[in-house]
């Protein structure tokens, strides 16, 4: 096996992993704070890609879409938390899960009505169309480098937000003990609202970034929801670091198996998850099974 083939495949894996990272971090932040497993996460990812298609059709500007889509879908997430999920707090974790599952149905069907059931083309933005050719190592598409860079930037910003700002302090305290937080006079409902919006915005961003690499269709969210779950189970629920590392790991494992055993590539991530479950049921960076 040549070195260049492995290098290129490794790189593809990291780009794929970057999308997983964005997705699973959104899922993880929502779960860590609200205790809600968002089964509509894949649907938000899909809506993100379609919102991108719409923005491109109207403005023709990818950069505008990149800024607008997370805000737009994040706002949709705010509405969902406020009007659908908030009434369910205190009823146990199964109910929000079931509700978001139903919401996934509605979002997919709404997109089918608005955009049709067929897939949509999504061109790579012209500025990022080329690639970098490294002698002896292979050809690396610029768009994938861009996806990796954006993900790294988002991770850095999230880390700064959580660890270095007052808001981050509130969020972390809320994840640990929401009751104390409200006793201290902080509006916990508002924190939850914003965190849910943040999570769905991240899912939409992942969908938009993935659109030129994977196809855009109303069903694209289903497979990705399962992939995000696998990543979260491997990394450990509620752990940002775990989500980031497991996302990259899964991306690399999937694309390396695609190199050697193409028919096994979709199955490999599940094998990895099974292995992790057998050895560490709480995930690589999970903090026990208290939830």
């Amino acid at each position: 096996m040549q070195l260049d083939l492995i290098a290129v495949q490794l790189f593809t894996g990291v780009a794929l992993g970057a999308v997983f990272v964005l997705l699973s971090i959104g899922l993880s932040v929502i779960f860590g704070m609200l205790g809600v497993v968002n089964f509509a996460h894949g649907a938000f990812y899909m809506t993100g890609a379609y919102a991108g298609v719409f923005c491109l059709a109207v403005t023709g500007n990818f950069w505008f879409a990149l800024a607008a889509v997370p805000l737009l879908i994040g706002a949709l997430g705010l509405g969902v938390e406020r009007f659908l999920i908030r009434p369910l707090y205190g009823r146990g974790p199964d109910y929000p899960l079931l509700l978001t599952f139903g919401l996934g149905y509605v979002l997919v069907e709404a997109v089918r009505i608005l955009f049709g059931t067929d897939g949509m083309p999504f061109d790579t933005p012209s500025l990022l169309a080329g690639g970098i050719d490294i002698e002896g190592l292979g050809y690396f598409p610029a768009y994938r480098l861009f996806v990796i860079a954006v993900t790294a930037l988002i991770l850095l910003l999230l880390w700064l937000l959580l660890e270095r700002t007052r808001y981050g302090l509130i969020i972390r305290a809320g994840a640990r003990d929401p009751e104390i937080l409200s006793i201290l006079g902080l509006d916990i409902a508002r924190v939850w609202l914003l965190v849910f919006g943040l999570g769905t915005g991240l899912a939409a961003l992942a969908g938009l970034l993935a659109a030129p690499m994977r196809s855009v269709n109303p069903e694209m969210g289903v497979a990705v929801l399962v992939e995000a779950f696998v990543v979260t189970v491997i990394g450990g629920m509620g752990s940002l670091l775990g989500g980031a590392i497991a996302g990259l790991l899964v991306g690399i494992v999937v694309s390396l198996t695609a190199l050697w055993m193409p028919q096994m590539s979709t199955i490999s991530m599940f094998a990895l998850m099974t292995l992790v479950l057998l050895i560490r049921p709480q995930g690589l960076f999970g903090r026990g099974l208290s939830r």
Partner: protein, 326 residues
């Protein structure tokens, strides 16, 4: 937020209903071909009602929300289909193989997934079921892959010296009815046995059940396996009914179907899943007549049910009855 995974709490059921639940359900199902708008709908209510009931054993009674039950419906269907179409085994043996395959799969998936708890459990079951889907998708020599498994038409059922005409819709309905009622009878016995009380104890408070000396892990696994067997039978009957096994049987949406049906009817009640299946299939049947986007309505109705009718139709009726008597 360390509350145990809260399956909907069913109200204590009236004793009379508890005793007569099986004859009541059997009587309604026996007349279904004449009440339901179409014969096809009646058979589907039978099969999917059984599927949702099997799921409900785990969700409603044991308190474990699985999102992977499509794997068991699919294992039953593919097991039966492969036995019929590829191995040339008779219809009864084929059903047995399908149910057994589903039981084995349920023990495997169960053993892995009960290592995780609460919300984790839902995610792990979903992921493992998706793995089964991908495997069936790849193994197209056996399963027919994307096109589904074909060529398993059964036109005559040999029972000893007799032969039943399985192409006759009435005969077909009552053959399937016989299997469903037998499974429901067995399930009703299990739920009335001490085991039934024990799994409900696990649902109510796992820690306490453990402290009482129950082997919680083993009981969960047994409940998981039983649930898989029942869903496997539903799958086997579906394969006989449809004469094909579509690959979608194994897909995520099919797992969600059981969840929706059980919740709409009333999780943790014996009759609820059948009522939920009937409601769901009626909605599908009605709305799909005038729009291809009927899933929009199903999703919206499901959201409304989660928000305003968490006990489901049947569960709410029981609760209302209790409230009036108190």
């Amino acid at each position: 937020m360390s509350a145990p995974a809260a399956a909907p709490l069913p109200a204590d059921q009236p004793a009379l209903l508890l005793r007569w639940r099986l004859p009541l359900l059997a009587a309604v199902l026996a007349t279904l071909p004449w009440i339901a708008p179409s014969q096809a709908l009646a058979v589907n209510i039978l099969i999917y009602g059984l599927y949702a009931t099997g799921f409900n054993l785990l969700f409603g009674y044991t308190g474990l929300l699985s999102f992977g039950h499509a794997a068991f419906l699919g294992a039953g269907a593919y097991g039966t289909g492969i036995a019929l179409a590829r191995l040339g085994i008779g219809w009864f043996g084929a059903i047995a193989i399908g149910v057994a395959a589903s039981g084995v799969l349920a023990v495997l998936i169960g053993a892995l997934s009960i290592r995780s708890r609460g919300i984790y459990f839902s995610m792990v079951t979903l992921a493992l079921a998706q793995l089964v889907y991908y495997i069936a998708f790849q193994a197209d020599d056996w399963t027919g892959g994307e096109n589904g498994l074909r060529g398993l038409t059964v036109s005559r059922l040999r029972v000893g010296p007799f032969a039943l005409d399985f192409l006759n819709p009435v005969v077909k309905y009552y053959v399937i009815f016989g299997f469903v009622v037998a499974a429901l009878w067995a399930l009703s016995r299990v739920l009335n046995a001490p085991f039934g009380a024990a799994i409900e104890a696990i649902r109510e408070n796992e820690g306490r059940a453990l402290a009482c000396g129950f082997d919680v892990r083993r009981m969960k696994l047994v409940a998981f396996a039983l649930s898989g067997l029942v869903c496997g039978l539903a799958g086997a009957l579906d394969a006989l009914h449809l004469s094909i096994v579509p690959i979608d049987t194994l897909y995520y949406q099919t797992s969600g179907l059981a969840v929706m049906m059980a919740l709409l009817g009333g999780a943790g009640t014996f009759l609820g899943p059948f009522i939920g299946a009937a409601i769901f299939l009626l909605i599908e049947d009605t709305f799909s007549l005038w729009t291809s986007h009927w899933q929009l309505f199903v999703g919206a109705i499901f959201i409304l049910a989660v928000l305003f009718l968490p006990r489901g139709v049947w569960g709410s009726l029981i609760a209302w009855h209790q409230g009036r008597r108190a």
